[in-house]
Structures are given as C-alpha cells and as structure tokens.
C-alpha cells in the first residue's frame, strides 16, 4: 500500500516540476529572447516550448505590408544550434538562418501582406547513447512603431 501513498507525492512532483520548467521558459524568453528584438517593440505574444534535439515546431502568422518586423528565435545554451526557415504559402523558402551562421534574428518587411510559416528545428549533437538534450525555445516578434 506504500505505493498508494507515493502516488499523490509523485503527481504533485510532476506537476510542480513541469510548471517550474515552463516558468523558466517564460523567464528565458523574457531575459534572452526579447532583448534580441532591440529597437523593435515586442508585440506581446508568447510562443515558447520545451523542445528536444531533433524536434521541430511550426508557427503560422500573417505579416502586414508597410510594417517592419524582426523575428527573434532563440534556444537555451544547453541546446545545439536552432535553425529556422521562413516559407510562403507555396512552401518556397524565403529565409534560412543556416545560411547566416544560425543567426538568431531576421529583419524583414513586406510589399504586400502575406501569411507565412516559420519552421524551427533544434539540431542534434549526434552523440549516440546519450540522453537527448532538451530546453526552451522561444519565438518572438517585434515591429517598429510608426510615429
């Protein structure tokens, strides 16, 4: 019957640990990713998740003409490089940060409004036998305020 006494403790532990990891993710996004937006004003949206080596995330968003955007995508230091691609509706790659030495930010503007897709992938350390690394990855957007 000892196991029955352990269950609530274990459950609480899992809940607390998971929420704590997420709180750390928010703190990471705030401390590391938002400052990367520099002179661009953060839009206030929060897109962050714990990703593991090799894992991908996708984001769909409409970007508007005449607005100047910066996307900032960053992963915790314990993760391998984080790559991201920006694709149009026909899956054409418009930007690939691997071609820019895994840059964490990309500045862009659009002649006409478009819905774009951002695919983020955590690379792999390629260390067979070891537990895959995991950590927070955040995707943040900023734009320039028009006076």
């Amino acid at each position: 019957m000892r196991i029955l006494r352990i269950i609530p403790i274990l459950t609480l532990l899992i809940v607390v640990t998971t929420l704590n990891v997420d709180a750390q993710c928010k703190a990471f996004a705030k401390k590391v990713c938002i400052p990367e937006l520099g002179a661009y004003t953060h839009d206030g949206n929060y897109h962050a998740a714990i990703l593991v080596e090799g894992e991908e995330a996708e984001l769909y968003k409409t970007f508007y003409s005449d607005m100047e955007y910066r996307v900032s995508i960053c992963g915790e230091d314990k993760l391998p490089d984080v790559e991201f691609r920006v694709l149009d509706a026909n899956k054409n790659v418009l930007y690939y940060n691997k071609d820019a030495n895994y840059a964490k930010t990309w500045d862009f503007k659009l002649q006409s409004s478009q819905q774009l897709k951002i695919v983020v992938k955590v690379n792999s350390f390629n260390k067979p036998g070891e537990t895959p690394a995991s950590g927070c990855v955040a995707i943040m957007f900023g734009f320039k305020i028009k006076k």
Partner: protein, 307 residues
C-alpha cells in the same frame, strides 16, 4: 502480493496518464491528440526519439492586440474614443469566457489609446485590463507597480508600449504555462475582433476606394483560418465551440473577398540590413461586402461586450 503490486502499478500508470494529459499542451501551441496520451515509458533511446518526433508543436499566431492597434494607426486612421468598450462594463464580466474575451478587448483598446497618446484613457484601460486578468486568476499579470510606472511615464510613448507589451505577455504566458490554452485563445480572439471592429467603424464610405484601412481589413482574411485553427485546438470547450460557430459565419463573408498574390521575391537591402519580401497583391471587396462584413463583426463583438 504480486497481484496487489500489479493493481498499484496500474493505478500509478493511470495517475501518470492523467497528469500527463493535464500537462500535455502548453505555451500557446497545440499538439496532436495522439501525442497527448503518449505516456508509456520508452524502452530505449530510439523510442524516446520517436516519441519526440511525434510531439510536433504548432503555433497559430494571431496578431496581438498591440499589433492590431498598430495596423489601424499605420493606416493613418483617426482616434475615436467612443468606439472603445466602456470601462463601466468591467463589473458585468463575471464568467471565464467574458473576462477572457474582454481582457483581449480592453488590451486592444489600451493599445489603441496608447498609440494615440490618450493619457487618461491609458490609465483607465490598463485598470480595466487588470480587472479582467485578476478575475481570471492570472497572477502578477498587471501589477500596481506597472500602473504606477505608467502614470509616471504617461508622456513617454516608448515606456508605455513596453509596459503594454510586457503586461500582455505576462497574461498569455501565464495562461499557456498553466495549461489554459482555451482561455489564452479567447483573449487573442477578443483582441483580434476589437481591432477589426474599430477598423470597420472608422471607414468612411465616402472614401472607400483606395482607403488604407479597407486594405488592412481585407488583410484580416489571411488570419481567419489561423483563428479557426487556434480555436479548434480547444474544441470541446463549450465557450470555444460557440466562438467557432461565430467565426465560421464571419469566414463566409470573408470568403466573398478575393485576394490574389504573385510569387514572393526576397530582396536583401544592405543599407538597412533588412530583407524586403516583394510581391504584388490584387484584392476585390465591394462596398456591399464591406457593409456585410462590418455588420457581422459588430454583431459578434456585441455578444462579447454586452453581457
């Protein structure tokens, strides 16, 4: 003894499954239903990697209330305080749904007032948003110290934008991190509708053709599917199900607008270190369709604010 141990192990697995499902979807993203119930302990690293590959995250990103307000400002529209949801309504919102929708609505109104430097309204609408966030149990979303900072910097638009952005992120990150994706989605929906409502109301029909604001309204057609996907990720929640019905009705009107775009050609501008995504767009919305759209938006927004 073995039988008792077996029963206990099963109970443990059920508890772990329940906990895992509870914590399954976080941070504003969605996971496939299949992934939410993957709770078995993988046997080897290959199995771990396989589970990881299944755990693909999808974010459906609507424009934030701040971005929605910015779109109105960038279309050179005028400010009209009578279009905002009166702050006197705050005490009427007592359900989770009405507070979530109106957190989005008030944050959009706050952003609109901030961009047009309406100093007294900024404080009033920050307090209204705080009331909604507090009602939803969002801890530390908008703290008194931030309202004090706002008052101290009421003529500094840069600081005001920072505070608006930060407080909104506090709310949506809290909801995402505390496994409340339906509430997080409703907040965004409220903000999106408020932006669209204000835009449609500000259009002067005498100046319809070539009106920048009309262009911004047409652009929202590009977000309607994202909005539906965002809500459908919380399907089964009665409040969200009602919203899906309303949004799908609105989509029928948006479907009457034609948008055709040419292929996108990225061009890097060395001087500004910025990529320009070049493309041509052709849109077609008649004044009749606009009126229909405007009426549909007003009707839905009314159900959000008049409760």
């Amino acid at each position: 003894m073995n039988r008792k141990h077996g029963i206990c192990s099963k109970i443990l697995i059920v508890v772990l499954m329940f906990t895992s499902v509870l914590l399954g979807c976080k941070s504003g993203g969605t996971k496939t239903p299949k992934e939410e119930v993957v709770v078995s302990v993988p046997k080897d690293k290959a199995a771990v990697v396989e589970d990881i590959k299944q755990a693909e995250k999808i974010f459906n990103a609507l424009p934030s209330p701040l971005e929605s307000a910015m779109l109105i400002k960038s279309a050179d529209a005028r400010f009209d305080g009578s279009l905002l949801n009166p702050i006197g309504n705050v005490n009427s919102y007592v359900t989770n749904k009405s507070m979530a929708l109106n957190l989005g609505v008030y944050t959009c109104d706050l952003s609109f007032a901030s961009l047009y430097e309406q100093t007294q309204l900024i404080i009033d609408y920050m307090n209204a948003a705080k009331k909604m966030a507090d009602g939803l149990g969002i801890l530390k979303a908008i703290e008194q110290s931030q309202i004090d900072k706002l008052e101290e910097n009421i003529n500094n638009s840069e600081v005001i934008m920072e505070i608006v952005s930060e407080t909104f992120m506090n709310s949506n990150s809290y909801l995402s991190d505390n496994n409340q994706p339906a509430t997080a989605a409703m907040v965004l929906v409220g903000g999106w509708f408020e932006g669209l409502y204000i835009s449609t109301q500000l259009v002067d029909m005498k100046d319809f053709n070539g009106n920048k604001l009309v262009g911004r309204i047409i652009d929202q057609k590009l977000s309607i599917d994202i909005l539906i996907h965002l809500l459908e990720s919380s399907k089964g929640n009665p409040a969200v199900d009602d919203l899906i019905v309303q949004v799908k009705k609105l989509k029928l009107v948006f479907d009457k607008i034609k948008i055709t775009t040419s292929a996108i050609r990225p061009e890097f501008d060395k001087k500004s270190n910025t990529t320009v995504l070049k493309s041509q767009i052709k849109t077609d919305m008649t004044p009749e369709v606009f009126k229909e759209l405007s009426a549909a938006v007003s009707e839905i927004r009314k159900t959000f604010v008049n409760i």
